[in-house]
């Protein structure tokens, strides 16, 4: 057992948690930050995709005119594109390669979804490639497509497992059907969720070039290692032959969490033309290239006592998936864990349609799942005359009902109390439809937020220089979440240096491997890796000092030496001290380097180890929790809803940067308000095509939709989750938001809307009912 601490304790004057400005902020506000489409490589060429107008067809293409157009280097179709070594549907695809879809466009003449790429045009200028792409003539042998699970042609099936086999398709706990039948209160409701698209402002982009058998891509990805894995496998290369770089990422929200076909296509055609190729998806192509949140319906049956205590939960979800994948968001997980309930059942049904696979989108499963349970619970509260916060407290889960484990930490009661106080919940008239402000109906609603601490691990390298500076590296990405900044702060504190002496580098597969920035794992994993690496750097410096007869620490015991602010000293006699730089200089070392592996979630074994009755290390259920409070004003004549106030209070372990964390939680709430009130991609039921695939037709919240927001975090120390005690907040702020809005709309109008988004048509006629 080493003397080194396993859990980070903030040094006096440390910067972790402080509201530091973003270290990459200057590059972003001056336009100096380079995103994946912004590298002016010599000889750069431009690729433009030709996509299919039909969703279910065989195509033949005439590229004669396009090839003759000025500036065109090549036009690739399934007939002439450089072949891949392995296709994603191949049975001998390597293990660990997890492409988001088991189908590769241009591998044959088939079209399986609308706007599937069918040709790639490469030219020496963007406008020339765009023009030539319009000259490709396509003949379709089209069949009628299946548009969704609601299509009469669609066949529903039991997937057994969803999310690439990671989640069971059917779960039962206790005896839910019997418990429901015996419950005093029985509530059944069906919820629908429109198709949502992530729409990060930066479109997906890949710049690819080959040097012999080595491939380099600048790719807009949340996971450089995952993209490297996929590209190496697809092209039959060793991993080290593929380099993926993502220094700046213009948002992702899940749609950049996988290696999608366009990235592979860019590399394929770059090999074909022997020049660097840049492929940037158009905004409409973003709707058919990088996944979406699927169209889905959930039926939730709730049994409760007259006191509002839950007795049974039965959840059924039906959704659309692609012709080749079994993807569905796992809505039931949060429904099974959020409240104490002994009887629970969940099942999934899928139907194949001619659509791209859906994929994880911010809080995948938790966001729509929480909409269902948080709306139903609200209904029951009104039905029984119980305050919405009170009914949640009556069902407060002292342990995780899904696995029976104790929580590693949970500050939900504090979140409810503090949120209610900030919001002025007690002043709310409990009766719906009673509060007016001029012509507007005013409503106030709340909902619970929660997100799991997934298991993850990663590596970081710390290189401490004798001149008092350090370079810290990990192959993570920064979606805008603040990775650059919070890792600089972490490095500063674990090395005892001011943050301006640290350079944190990320986004390159030549750096140590970090997990995908997704599932809220990046902050906890990478910061813990840095913590572990720094411990090892200090161990090496201590060894040097102990062996150095000129050091005041000569022959000291390892355990007796401590480090504070970069100075090594004896714990019991602080006058015996020496700065690390002096030790390195005497040893004629310019720097000392170590790597460290940080674990996040279940793999972490903290200092505070307790054992269960079998003397095994006790394991915990690890989740962040929070509470949203929302005020809306509804125009009774027009049915329009405006969010006018927002309060969010969350407990998410250690907060690494108060400023960026607040921004992230505000962003999560706004993302959720979009899903609640306006975001819907409409798929034509005849042609299986999206009819509003741009930012004029697909409404994301704009500045005028959003009020000022109040966000707070509850202090929370959790020594069980990782060395830094960080839970991650990428998704948490989004969970429960739609329900908080819908609950406020109910309180304003007396009308319960169970179909997202809550557009004015669904509220018309409200004036008459109140």
């Amino acid at each position: 057992m080493s003397s080194e601490p396993k859990f980070f304790e903030q040094p006096a004057g440390g910067v972790v948690g402080k509201p530091m400005d973003r270290v990459d902020g200057r590059a972003k506000v001056t336009g100096a930050a380079r995103y994946s489409a912004e590298f002016a490589l010599p000889g750069l060429t431009y690729a433009v995709l030709v996509t299919s107008a039909m969703a279910n067809a065989k195509v033949s293409l005439d590229t004669t005119q396009a090839e003759k157009a000025p500036g065109v280097l090549a036009v690739y179709t399934h007939l002439n594109i450089p072949p891949l070594a392995v296709l994603p549907n191949s049975p001998d695809k390597p293990k660990g390669w997890s492409p988001p879809m088991k189908y590769m466009p241009l591998s044959n003449n088939e079209v399986q979804y609308a706007n599937q790429p069918i040709a790639v045009v490469i030219a020496d200028a963007l406008e020339r490639a765009q023009h030539a792409a319009t000259l490709v003539k396509v003949s379709y042998q089209a069949a009628e497509p299946i548009a969704s699970f609601e299509d009469p042609k669609a066949k529903l099936f039991d997937p057994q497992a969803i999310q690439d086999g990671k989640t069971a398709g059917h779960t039962v706990r206790g005896n839910p059907k019997e418990a429901l039948a015996q419950s005093a209160v029985q509530h059944k409701a069906t919820y629908t969720h429109a198709i949502n698209h992530h729409n990060p402002l930066e479109p997906a982009a890949t710049t690819a070039f080959w040097e012999g058998n080595r491939l380099t891509v600048y790719d807009a990805t949340q996971g450089i290692t995952r993209t490297q894995t996929s590209l190496a496998a697809t092209f039959g290369l060793a991993r080290e032959q593929v380099r993926v770089i993502t220094q700046y990422l213009g948002g992702g929200f899940g749609c950049k969490g996988s290696c999608w076909p366009h990235t592979v296509l860019a590399a394929q055609v770059a090999r074909g033309v022997g020049r660097p190729v840049k492929l940037v998806l158009t905004r409409p192509q973003m709707f058919t290239s990088v996944g979406h949140r699927e169209d889905q319906t959930q039926t939730l049956q709730v049994g409760a006592t007259k006191e509002g205590k839950l007795t049974a939960l039965i959840h059924e979800k039906t959704s659309t998936t692609s012709p080749w994948d079994n993807y569905a968001e796992s809505n039931s997980k949060i429904i099974g864990m959020l409240y104490a309930c002994p009887n629970f059942e969940a099942s999934y049904q899928l139907a194949r349609a001619n659509v791209m696979p859906s994929t994880f989108m911010r809080a995948p499963g938790e966001a729509p799942g929480s909409f269902a349970i948080e709306s139903s619970l609200d209904d029951i509260a009104y039905q029984l005359g119980i305050d919405p916060i009170e009914i949640r407290l009556r069902n407060y889960a002292e342990k995780d009902s899904n696995d029976g484990k104790a929580w590693s930490s949970k500050s939900l009661k504090e979140c409810y109390a503090r949120g209610a106080e900030l919001f002025g919940w007690s002043k709310r008239n409990p009766k719906p439809g009673q509060t007016r402000d001029g012509r507007y109906l005013v409503g106030m609603g709340m909902a619970t937020a929660s997100y799991p601490v997934h298991s993850s691990q990663g590596t970081a390298r710390v290189r401490l220089f004798a001149d008092g500076r350090a370079v810290v590296q990990s192959g993570a990405t920064d979606l805008g979440t603040g990775t650059y900044t919070v890792m600089t702060q972490t490095s500063a504190d674990v090395l005892g240096l001011p943050p301006d002496r640290i350079r944190f580098e990320l986004g390159d597969t030549t750096l140590p491997t970090a997990p995908n920035s997704g599932g809220s794992v990046a902050a906890g994993t990478v910061s813990s890796s840095i913590f572990v690496a720094a411990q090892d750097v200090w161990r090496k410096v201590k060894e040097l000092a102990r062996a150095d007869s000129k050091s005041p620490l000569y022959r000291a015991k390892m355990d007796d030496i401590i480090v504070e602010g970069g100075t090594l000293m004896l714990k019991k006699d602080r006058s015996k001290a020496e700065p690390f730089a002096a030790i390195l200089e005497r040893a004629r070392l310019t720097d000392i380097e170590s790597t460290g592996m940080g674990r996040y979630g279940a793999g972490f074994e903290g200092d505070d180890k307790t054992t269960d009755q079998n003397s095994q290390p006790k394991t915990y259920s690890m989740h962040s929790f929070g509470a949203h409070f929302c005020e809306v004003r509804v125009d009774p004549e027009l049915g329009t809803v405006r969010v006018t106030r927002w309060v969010g209070v969350h407990g998410a372990g250690r907060i690494l940067n108060a400023k960026t964390a607040r921004s992230q939680m505000i962003g999560g709430a706004i993302f959720g308000i979009g899903a609640a009130l306006m975001e819907a991609t409409e798929r034509d039921q005849n042609f299986a095509r999206y009819v509003n695939a741009d930012l004029a037709g697909y409404h994301v919240p704009v500045q005028a939709d959003i009020p000022d927001m109040t966000i707070e975090f509850v202090d929370e120390k959790d020594p069980y989750i990782n060395a830094m005690g960080v839970k991650g907040i990428g998704e948490l702020g989004m969970v429960g938001v739609a329900a908080a809005v819908a609950n406020a709309v109910y309180h304003a109008t007396g009308k319960r809307i169970r179909s997202l988004p809550i557009t004015p048509d669904k509220l018309l006629g409200t004036a008459a009912t109140v």
Binding site: V29, L249, G480, V700, D708
Partner: protein
């Protein structure tokens, strides 16, 4: 129709005279003379005129763009947008392409002090005008007050909409559309931010407007 945008279907002389400096008037002369652009007779339908226009314009022409105070000479096809000229030809990638359809505002730059969507503006129509991009706002190492305020108030996350937001915000202050939060929100609603930095952007603009130093 934006008065500064060339409209091949409009016909007739430009509404105001400008010096022969590569402005719209010059462009029409170039387009109809050097490039052989057909100025369509008025009885042809708009769609046909546009088709003819697309079909006949070929090849690059020289244009001079004044970007961030420097004259840059480029040989570009007339169909190249200001955004693509900046990003692909001048290596000024600060202006972002978020939609290429005038729907997101990420490409916002200042042309003669006015905010425009550079993705909807042909580069050749901006000759003789002052183009200011995000790269031109700071004075050396000293950030423009709006850039400093965005940094201080964390008015961004991923940073991709940020150059457009900042250019738009600078113009918003100069326009005087900052009387209160609601007015700022309304006049900044053409710039989408998917990360959801809206409240922080309002805080940044309020600070600059309050100090009265939002001028570039």
């Amino acid at each position: 129709m934006h008065p500064d945008t060339f409209d091949p279907t409009a016909g007739g002389p430009p509404p105001e005279q400008r010096p022969d400096d590569g402005s719209r008037r010059t462009f029409i002369k170039q387009a109809s003379g050097i490039l052989g652009l057909a100025v369509a007779p008025p009885f042809i339908s708009q769609a046909e005129k546009l088709a003819a226009y697309t079909g006949k314009v070929e090849g690059a022409t020289e244009m001079k763009l004044k970007v961030n105070g420097s004259i840059r000479t480029l040989r570009l096809e007339p169909r190249v947008t200001l955004l693509d000229a900046l990003r692909e030809n001048l290596n000024l990638t600060g202006s972002k392409k978020g939609c290429d359809q005038g729907q997101c505002g990420a490409c916002t730059v200042l042309v003669d002090g006015r905010r425009v969507n550079s993705c909807l503006t042909l580069a050749i129509t901006t000759q003789g005008k002052e183009i200011t991009t995000i790269e031109g706002l700071a004075k050396g190492e000293e950030l423009h007050p709006m850039q400093a305020a965005f940094l201080k108030h964390d008015g961004f996350q991923c940073g991709y909409c940020t150059p457009g937001q900042i250019c738009s915000a600078v113009a918003c202050v100069q326009e005087g559309h900052t009387k209160n939060d609601a007015e700022i929100r309304e006049w900044m609603s053409g710039n989408l931010c998917r990360c959801g930095a809206y409240p922080n952007i309002v805080a940044a603009i309020k600070e600059v407007a309050g100090k009265g130093d939002g001028k570039s």
